[in-house]
Amino acid sequence: MALIEIRNLAKAFGTVKAVDGVTLDIGSGEFITLLGPSGSGKTTVLRMIAGFEDPDAGSISLAGEDITHLPPFDRDVNTVFQDYALFPHMTIQENVEYGLRTRKVPKVERAKQALEAIASVKLEHTADRLPHQLSGGQRQRIALARALVLRPRVLLLDEPLGALDRQLREEMQVELKKIQRDAGITFIFVTHDQEEAMRMSDRIVVFNEGRVEQVGTPQDVYNKPATRFVAGFLGAANIVSGEDAKKVFGKSKTVSIRPERMRLQPSNSKISSDESSVSAVVQEAAFVGANTVYIVETEFGLRLNVSKTNTELLGQDKSFAAGDRVLVVWHNSQAAEIPA
């Protein structure tokens, strides 16, 4: 049985349907990411699991118990907020003790637990400081400690890394994943950053316009996108449909193929039997460091992006230039049909 079962959840704000019939099972100890553009309903789903928003319809259960309309203080889940939501008038230790205090944990015991939690995020020396005296990354970790000290069954994280700079963000991604594995707590993580989602998650739930587009492992959603939206949202994709799909892939369905799964060859070269190709002319070649990104156009006017990893020895670059006639080649298994 899944730890959290969400059934047909719906929520509207005025006339806007923020969440429109979401059904989802989340397993115990899982790191699951709700991924989608802003306004796709992912944060609203998280807030309904936390109890900050009351669903219009549908149900949420935690470990078999219906929690759909319970207030936040009666749920065994805790939240790490986007802007940390530390209490500005309390010291770091008082912040971390807050939840223990409302649970009437005796003073000595709660101080001990709070200090342990602060130590677990390596910020012992800040216990007596006020939140505004800490950096963004430090505050982020205190917010995490404050939620984890309560040992919830489920930890909800609402874009917790959004305000951090790139390097700190990547450090925290590793650290969060480690904390999750060590503590064995279910993490429900909200982000709009697809790379972050793929890096950390056991499973990704892709949201769009209040609905779930696809649920699956990072490999699933990247390699076998269920919808056109998923194909376009996670990484770059060439999405080919209609007449073009027939001409290129011989299929009447929409097909998605990643730029890095195709390569360019000289126009008169050979390909192996399990590969397919289409001839085209290079329109543009852009060197972007690790990769070179080509934009090519077929005879019938279809534009494709092809990305090549720059692995040649220096000075031996066999790259193509604008105007070159080329063959765009791909392995047949790389062309993913989009069911919807």
Binding site: F52, P71, T79, Q82, F87, P88, T102, R146, A147, L150
Partner: protein
């Protein structure tokens, strides 16, 4: 083709001031300093001096001198002491009542009310400020007079108002100064990030715990800022007592009575509210709230 060329104009005054920082500073603060020192401090100082002068009991003429008789009188005569204490208690009551109503109202306006209700309430709170001070006192007088609105409206329930007395003075002063408490409190509550309420409840706190542990500490500076107004304005008021207090005397009433007969006593007595306010500000300062005002 014509072309507009922006000419660089010379600005001698600006360039001069840019280099001479002292002249610049002087030109900025001269006017306010003239006001504060020349008008404010000097007149207070003159008042203080007057408190040491004498009045000839026969001619009622004021003559300069130095004696502490006036101070001795306001600090020892029971009527004066009683009035000082009464005034202090009235001012404290007004402040307490203002706080008591302003906090729930502020929470409701800032966090619960729909935008149109919030705007309506904001107008309703500030509306009395548009009417004249005396007009409002007279309005209260009309409400609580013998044949007034209150007694008329409450007659079916067999309730009669207390008549012009201390409670009505407190009520009138509360009515007069409530906006000065309600607005800063409401603004402070509005500035509390909504996430803090979510976070508090997420960590197991119910509504009252959140108000007590999160809202109160965060709005204390605003409450103290508001109370400086409600307390000092109440302390110095005398028209409310005069029109709605019946026989109630406040410090202001006694000063007003003495201002022509015995200016030195009036001056000495006016040191009492100044003294109270200084004490009040020192207490407020100790809480550390004034720095955040």
């Amino acid at each position: 083709m014509t072309q507009v060329v922006a000419k660089k104009q010379s600005k001698p005054i600006s360039s001069y001031l840019l280099r001479r920082t002292k002249v610049r500073l002087l030109s900025i603060i001269t006017l306010p300093m003239t006001w504060i020192v020349g008008v404010y401090i000097v007149s207070l100082f003159l008042l203080l001096i007057t408190a040491f002068w004498n009045v000839d009991p026969f001619t009622s003429l004021v003559s300069p001198g130095f004696n502490l008789e006036n101070f001795k009188m306001v600090l020892t005569v029971p009527a004066y002491i009683a009035t000082s204490i009464r005034t202090l208690l009235i001012a404290l009551s007004v402040t307490a009542i203002c706080i008591f109503f302003a906090i729930p109202l502020g929470i409701y306006m800032a966090k619960i009310a729909k935008p149109w209700v919030r705007n309506l309430l904001a107008v309703a709170i500030t509306l009395p400020l548009w009417a004249g001070y005396l007009v409002k006192i007279i309005a209260m007088r009309l409400v609580f007079t013998e044949e007034g609105f209150f007694n008329w409206a409450m007659a079916p329930f067999g309730i009669r108002g207390p008549g012009f007395s201390i409670p009505i003075v407190i009520l009138t002063l509360t009515y007069l100064w409530f906006p000065y408490m309600a607005l800063p409190v409401y603004t402070a509550i509005r500035q509390i990030p909504p996430n803090l309420f979510d976070a508090s409840s997420d960590m197991g706190a119910k509504g009252f715990t959140t108000i007590y542990r999160v809202v109160f500490p965060l709005i204390t500076p605003a409450v103290i800022a508001g109370s400086v107004f409600t307390f000092s304005l109440s302390l110095g008021d005398y028209l409310a007592a005069r029109f709605t207090g019946g026989a109630t005397q406040m410090i202001g009433s006694i000063i007003a009575q003495n201002i022509n007969l015995n200016p030195p006593v009036a001056a000495a007595y006016s040191m009492i509210p100044i003294f109270f306010i200084v004490i009040y500000l020192m207490v407020a300062r100790r809480t550390g709230s004034l720095e955040r005002m």
